[in-house]
């Protein structure tokens, strides 16, 4: 809801909020982030920003996101 409201109030309309999860984790992407990034970045673009929702996997030990 928050991502959607943000996109809407910024004037770019609705879009997928879980871009990284759906495109990388759920899709079991094998490509490097650098290769995936151009398309993902375009999808999540809000003006000069990139908007995306991040979640911890429910079985994660936490805390770091590995780069």
């Amino acid at each position: 809801m928050v991502c959607d409201d943000f996109r809407n109030l910024a004037g770019v309309g609705s879009g997928r909020s879980e871009i990284l999860y759906n495109s990388i984790v759920r899709a079991e992407a094998k490509d490097a982030w650098a290769d995936l990034w151009p398309n993902l970045e375009a999808e999540g673009r809000v003006g000069e920003f990139f908007c995306c929702k991040l979640m911890f996997p429910h079985d994660a030990e936490g805390p770091p996101l590995q780069s």
Binding site: M1, V2, D4, D5, F6, N8, L9, A10, G11, G13, S14, W33, W37, V46, G47, F49, K53, M55, F56, H58, A60, G62, P63, P64, L65, Q66, S67
Partner: protein, 138 residues
């Protein structure tokens, strides 16, 4: 984390984790995750969804763990996110996002109607009440 350097972090929390677990339970059971203004929508019959205490408890535990992981994450990286609660987001549209737009120095168009609509309110409350009672008996 290098990919997120310079990001503005927004931590979205929900005060009522039981209601959150039931929302997740409804959504995963019906595969209905969103309702958009102006889009065709066939509302699921939430009253027909069986009550499944272990499943809801499992979802609640996962949400509590996720909340804890985010707290560790922000502490680990020394981040101070903007905090938004779901409850505030539901009731406070569009003003609840003023801090975010201000932090980003981005113009906000507050006259636009909300596109994503809330679902399952009354059914959620009923199941939440039953779940809380069962949880207390444990």
């Amino acid at each position: 984390m290098a990919w997120f350097a310079g990001s503005t972090w927004i931590f979205i929390d929900r005060d009522d984790v039981v209601a959150q677990a039931i929302s997740l339970y409804f959504a995963s059971t019906t595969s209905t995750w969103r309702k958009r203004l102006g889009h065709p929508f066939e509302a699921p019959d939430y009253e027909q969804i069986p009550y499944d205490f272990p499943q809801i408890k499992s979802l609640m535990d996962a949400l509590v763990a996720e909340k804890s992981h985010w707290a560790e994450f922000f502490q680990h990286y020394g981040l101070d996110p903007i905090r938004i609660t779901y409850e505030h987001a539901v009731e406070g549209f569009p003003d609840y996002l003023s801090e975010v737009f201000g932090a980003l120095r981005l113009p906000m168009q507050p006259s636009r109607p909300r596109l994503l609509q809330k679902m399952g309110g009354a059914a959620n409350q009923r199941l939440a009440e039953r779940f809380r009672e069962d949880l207390m008996r444990q």
